[in-house]
Symmetry: C2
Subunit: 221 residues, 2 copies
């Protein structure tokens, strides 16, 4: 099916929201509009079009759910986004916080061959530079159990698995701390007072990080 640049962005947004709203993979109009930076009225209009094309199912004043086709299309875009991010990071020396913006554009390039060849060129990466799983050509995606650093207890050790908050400020802060995907962390002490943590980053001297920090980082035990 032929999708416009904009329609693709709506589908990807709905997919992302469906991951985010863990309980039910639904989204609301305002939520979607806020995510995309448009007004609710605009989102409603587009919703009608997407429904017409059988990409979402919803009723007036009801919740929005992607159809099978809609989800498949969304995943295809996410796949492109993450492959391009990996390309920029691995091959063109882009930094962590620079890849997303350009991938937002590259994800809309239409060419089945391009995506698959790119994946091959990158040697079939499983995760993007932020630790997020890259969907396969068939739409499959490794489901990984995500643990937040903030859920760990005194003495726990872990590896950084993925970034929850991918804002530039956070990514740049991580870089400053020499934290990247795969970095080993150990929790020395959780401070009950404010939820901050004393952690050791690889072999460096222990240091304190805030609760907000610990809630923005996914780790693997």
């Amino acid at each position: 099916m032929m999708l416009s640049y904009t329609e693709e962005n709506y589908l990807k947004a709905l997919l992302k929201l469906s991951f985010q709203n863990e309980d039910k993979p639904e989204a609301g109009t305002n939520e979607m509009a806020a995510y995309l930076g448009v007004k609710p009225a605009t989102a409603t209009d587009m919703l009608k079009k997407l429904k017409e094309k059988n990409l979402v199912s919803y009723q007036k004043y009801g919740k929005i759910l992607l159809t099978d086709i809609g989800r498949k299309s969304g995943i295809a875009i996410l796949r492109k986004h993450r492959l391009w991010e990996t390309f920029l990071y691995e091959k063109l020396d882009f930094s962590w916080d620079e890849v997303h913006e350009v991938a937002e554009q590259l994800e809309h390039i239409q060419s089945a061959k391009l995506v698959d060849k790119l994946e091959e060129f990158l040697d079939f990466p499983e995760f993007d530079p932020h630790g997020d799983p890259i969907p396969k050509a068939n739409g499959e995606m490794p489901v990984i159990t995500k643990t937040l650093l903030s859920e760990l207890k005194n003495g726990d050790v872990c590896k950084v698995a993925a970034i929850k908050d991918t804002s530039t400020l956070f990514l740049q802060y991580l870089e400053k701390l020499h934290i990247t995907i795969g970095t080993n962390l150990s929790v020395i002490e959780v401070i009950a007072f404010d939820g901050s943590l004393n952690i050791q980053i690889e072999d460096a001297d222990p240091r304190s990080v805030s609760m907000k920090f610990a809630e923005s980082l996914f780790v693997q035990r």
Copy 2:
């Protein structure tokens, strides 16, 4: 300056036409419209906008000429186009006739860093897969004297330098004949009757090619 996808295509078209119309680097409205596959009325509309933005200079019913800014912008797009074609051909194993279509999309990605990093990644290529020169970051472009194969005489030898007609049919025919950029050719005989040529391709047995063929291939003596 912020240019839309469409504005970029108009500028690139004008640049291409300015190369094509060797004598004067001008273009007409109809010519431009035909090149872009739009109607003359549409081209006129866009022309007004481009003039407003100081990208072209022209008067009603007059000829169209790119301004310095307009030409610079056009060259920047051409640079991206040819770098991407090179990437697809060299790194992703795209064939000769497949690169153009995808590059038409990729040329519109906005990121100064991306272009320059891509160029570095490709090791600063001078020519794209069709033998066309790739503009440098500063806008400079090697000016090469183009000789058509059809201009050669009996006994002349040459190397294939670039492709004039980049249609899929021609590119696929060239592939079949094992002709690529750099292939050595020697003209055995020019047939006066119909302008066809007997040529030898590298060490293969001599064969005949049509005048149309010889007029579609640029060579270097």
